[in-house]
Amino acid sequence: MNDSPSIIARAQKKRHSRALCGTVLSHTIVRHPPAGFPKQPRCIGLIELEDGSRTLGAITGAKPIAIGQHVAPRMQLMKINNAGLRTYDIVYEPTVMQHAPLHEKQKVQGYILALTGPSGVGKSTVNLLLSQVIGDYAQHVPIITTRDPKKQDKNEYSYVSEQEFQDLKDQGLIIAATRIPSNTENRWYGYQAKDIERIWKQGKIPTVVTEMHLLKDLSHHYGRRSILSCGLLPPGQSRRAMLSQLLHRLRKRGRDSEASIRDRLRNAEQDLIFFDRRKDLFDHLIVNEDLDHVVSILKRCVRKLDKLSTVQKPKEAL
């Protein structure tokens, strides 16, 4: 294998996507590893990671591995090339923790439509239009928050105190939570399982207009396959162009102070990085250039989910 620094550098950029726990799908012991690797037999597994992707990776430890074994990632020195360049990579270590069996986690209780995008991209506008078009099929999941009610809030929030929020979270009733820290606000936002499950019981599709941490939590709790996840991006060829587009929109909206806009922009940058890094969490990335177009794509998604749910659920539940 070619060990040029540029190849190693490119590989390192992608490494974080494999730094996840997973389950061994198959394994082998390569008795004669290729040149450059340590000479001793090398255990290698095909591993299904938590995000549903699969990877080939070395498995450490002396114990024999079995299919279904849960493994966790860690960094290890892989090889030292002739020029003395030390390459580290992710290896997987068997863990005693028993993971929820794969098939149980993949059982779909129902579907959720998630719309994720940086602040100012137009999520609320899209959601408003969407609820007019597909109100019969879908229902918005209220966000539970510790922040104070604001004038422009529609009925998308339910308000609790910080203590109440923590209690609900500790009891496992809030299944997705995030704290948005900034100079201007420091608030908790989250979703309650009962809100989502209530909408399922009504035979509708819960819709969330959300951000990256909440999306990750939802995907973890209900399983990635339960979520039809759409990312909403501002127009622009580069991240920089997208951010200036957002800045323009936030200023035009005139709701926030300059300080708050700066905060929002910084969060938006993180969101855009997240879109790049966690492509696996999105089914569709939609550029919000033309509202009608965005709404029509989402409408199609909801119709699709509605059909799927109808097949899944017994008639009387509808």
Partner: protein
Amino acid sequence: MERDIFLIGAGQTQFGERWNASLRNLMEEAITAALDDAPCTSLDVDIVVVSNMLAERVNSQAHLGALAASILPHHPPALRVESACASGAVALHTACSLLESGRAQNVLVVGVEKMTDTPSDEIAAALMGAADAEKDAPSGITFPGLFGLIAERYMHEYGLTREELSYVSTRHHERALKNPYAQFRKSVTSDQVSASPLVADPIRLLDCSPITDGAAACLLSTSCESSLKISASQLTSDTTSIADRTSITSFPATKDAAERAFEEATIQRSDVSVIELHDCFSIAALLSLEDLGFAEPGQGIELYKNPPADLQINGSGGLKACGHPVGATGIKQLIEVGRQLKQQKEQWGLAHNFGGAGVTCGVHILEHSIA
């Protein structure tokens, strides 16, 4: 097929460790044999298609098309194709396309690999080029390792035992006894297979096809006729990394190519009497039989335990015992199918050749007119 394409000449070298023969010598030997077998002369060749995987890396020789053309007196146009172990099938498919388009009337297809000049660890590294260099190789996996993963999973899902798997190589060695071109004309018992050294658990040395020198050539024609006609030529591909697949105990590329080939030839599986399938490792033979549709999933081994009377599987000894000169294998399979059909006076035969872990797959169906 858009036109009637006939296999009018075939020839191959002895497979094995050919220390006295170079890459060019091997090609010359196979081309001469194929032309001697054909009703036309070397000057009738319109274009040469060369199939080879490793020459740049292990023989320091690129430009194989021209090298092959230089063997013919009139230096016809020539090209080389590479698709790892499926290079042979891809070369045949390319030749069929040239004939179907009318661009050529006689195409010489020659597959060649010269592997034993190079240390085996270097060969192993070169063969790993058939997998995904960014996704697979950095883990330190080898090619036998990929099939080790497949075999382990297969055994887990279907309960195949080590003893059962060993039948596969035993049968292939048994059949190679009758093939004068085979690399290993000696039998091995299944106990010997089960006791051979581990290469990549559970794959053992005698589960693996060997490193082989060899060449095979055939002449395909729309202007001359013979009793062997190509009735289907289908090519498919899949992800280069097995990590991007939903299952590793079945190769969709094989399934797809087989479906399309049977449709193109308008025959049923039960019509086929001879198959040469791709058994780079013993476990691959079982996957191939199942994906081609000759056995239910998990049942491929039954055809090795109790060989059916009406279906000859790898009569040449397969890749395991006949040898696996990578670029030559796909061509050898087709000419073997033709030879066996003639010998047994049967009508339909199938050649199945894949590259990587079921990444590129080619299926060819040959019809023998018995009259």
